[in-house]
Amino acid sequence: MNNVLIFLLILLMPLLSSCDGPSQEAANVTAQSTVPAETQTAAKPVASPVDTAELEIGRALYQDGLRANGEPLTAIVTGDVEILGTQFSCDGCHGISGMGSKEATIIVPIIAGPILFAPAVQPERVAYDLASLATVLRDGVTPSGRQIGHLMPRFRLTDKELASLAAYLGSLSTGPSPGVDDSTIRFATVVTDNSSEQERNAVLAVLNRFAEEKSRQTRLESKRWDRGTTPESRLHTVHRDWILDVWELSGQESGWGEQLRAYYERNPVFAIIGGLLPESPGPLARFCEQNAIPCVLPSTRNPESGDGDLYSRYYSRGLGLEADLIATDLKELQFDVLVQVYCEASAARAADRLETDLTGRTIDTRRLAFDCDEETPIDQLQGLLEEPRGSVIVYWLDKGHLSNVAVPSGARVYFSSTLIGDEIEPLHESVSDSAYLVHPYRLPGTLDPAFRRMDAWTRTRNIEIRYPRLQGEAFFAAMLMSEIVKHLDKFYIREYVLDLLGHAQGMVLYLPYYSRPTFGPGQIYVSKGGYILPVVNGKLDTGSSDWTIPAY
């Protein structure tokens, strides 16, 4: 009886499998070749000798959709829709890395040169050359004569442009980027000496433990019996031990770049995770751009991102976002005097930003800056507040410096949640009826499942949570990187990290403290808005404020 059944099943199988649905198409378009682990490291760009001018033309075609004369590339998509390169460039779908992408049911294949210009094994495909690349880009026909999906544009490219594009694709690597070898992947986290030692220790306790556990979880994959019989079918080693270096920066900000370079030259890292740069991540951001290193979610009050920067990601715009939230709140309000009080450089920058936001309005802007080691100079403050009625006061201060400041009745007062830190309440006992906390985080008192998760993680490891927000940020940065590394599969490429960050939307569930986080291709900041919470008798009124995303 059994034998008959088996016979029937065997008979049926070809019938059933012949009903190939649309998935067949996707699977073939993917045409991801299997590169054996051994050859990965040896994979070198096809285009050599490298002509930098040609590569730049290719890069502009690929990333910006622009021809050498600055005009946008043109193409036809979904049969009859004319599109421009500025609306839709190669890196959009295939990634800056050329590693392809997935969105819903659409799978975009890898087109990095070492794979594109080599024969693929599963499924079988001949190596692309210039002629077949021309055919597939212009007509959408593969070397085997198959018509590729109509989401892939049919481009109008000159022969010269094709050559440049091919050279650029050839320059895209399949990795590994520096910091990775067969058994380890090296990261760094950057802390500056203008953070408190307790904060540093708290954050590093989380990061070090995370890295240590990653390494302990080796699944002995590389020692498994028979990892395939042919080089092509052999499994690549997914797991690599984590090494986490701590790069401490000291002294003046102007010297940080040099210190970063020295650390990097000693031990190149694949990416930089988390970190504590409360005052300014600027030198780190520039270092990461120069060396093409992903700089993932450092803790800072003052994120910086230049135009066209690719490599840094931040939780939010920090104090700059707070300034914009205040400006939004003041939009409809008439007032004569703006007084901003601060001691830190990051707060000075926020004060600048608020004044810029209010440009064009007739407001008497005043400032009180003092040394953070001193107490808030109350006498001088009172001098600035001769007539509190009609004034707005922004206290860009931490809790210690707030303890002796007055909250004059008649003035509208703002406090900074970022500077106050974790223990917000009781905020200020003597607060008048128009005091507000600028809060670009989750509403206090609401359930934060991601924090609970992290809390459980730390408690079971005897790590004390002293700075929930900073430690939560560190934990998420490490967890995000761990998830990204998993998705890198065998392609340890830094630009692929950036591409995957753009698609990390699913990870937002695990982010504590922040509200409404979103990831997206090219998006630098994870959380984009905040609340202005009324302070009543030192307590926050969380029920009456709307989430606001400032338009500045």
């Binding site: 059944l5 198409e25 979904t78 004319e82 599109i83 819903a104 109509h150 984009k528």
Partner: protein, 230 residues
Amino acid sequence: MRFAKILLPVLATFSLILAQLSLVHAEDRSLYYGGREVEGVSERHEGHEGHGGHDHSMHMKMMQQQDYSVNPKTYSIPDVTLLDANGNEVSMAKLLSADRPVALNFIFTTCTTICPVMTATFAKMQRELDREQLDRLQVISISIDPEYDRPEVLRSYAKLFNADESWLFLTGRSEDINAVMRAFDAYAGSKMNHQPLSFLRKTPQQPWLRVEGLASGKSLANLVDQNLFD
């Protein structure tokens, strides 16, 4: 016999999976061909396999054919207030109760795969319509990433695609956008599961036509012409 005992469950599982696959595919077909009263649907292109050869006229023909399905659906859209690209409030109830045909899709500006294509396709569809149709048809694109796509972001996006003034790009509060997406059965949990969907409707009293897949601009225009105008 012992060998068979091991092999049988394996084969049975395997064939079950295959049977499942073919079932899904069959449903897929009936779904498509089930759209009876829908006019102007070009023939579904049944995958590219099996055509073989290098006949370029065949390829050109195939390029014109699209993988998409059209189905009439009734949706009840919540009355939420969204924001247009100029920051003005727009009541969805008011917008959709106007006695004019509507073409609607969901996009986000940092979406790199299907959104630019969907937006360009809507633009192409508009160009395919005649003047009167263009004036009558209310085109709406709703951002599913409202945290990032603020009105000013939508404004530059509209400009990038040379969108007609009458084309509304909407954003708003995440809760409201999600409610609208759910109402259109377009909510996929994450914007990264964003499917290519377009929705067409003649009058507030009539059902929506749900277009799943990437239709060409001309096919969409045909659907609009034949179903949304007399």
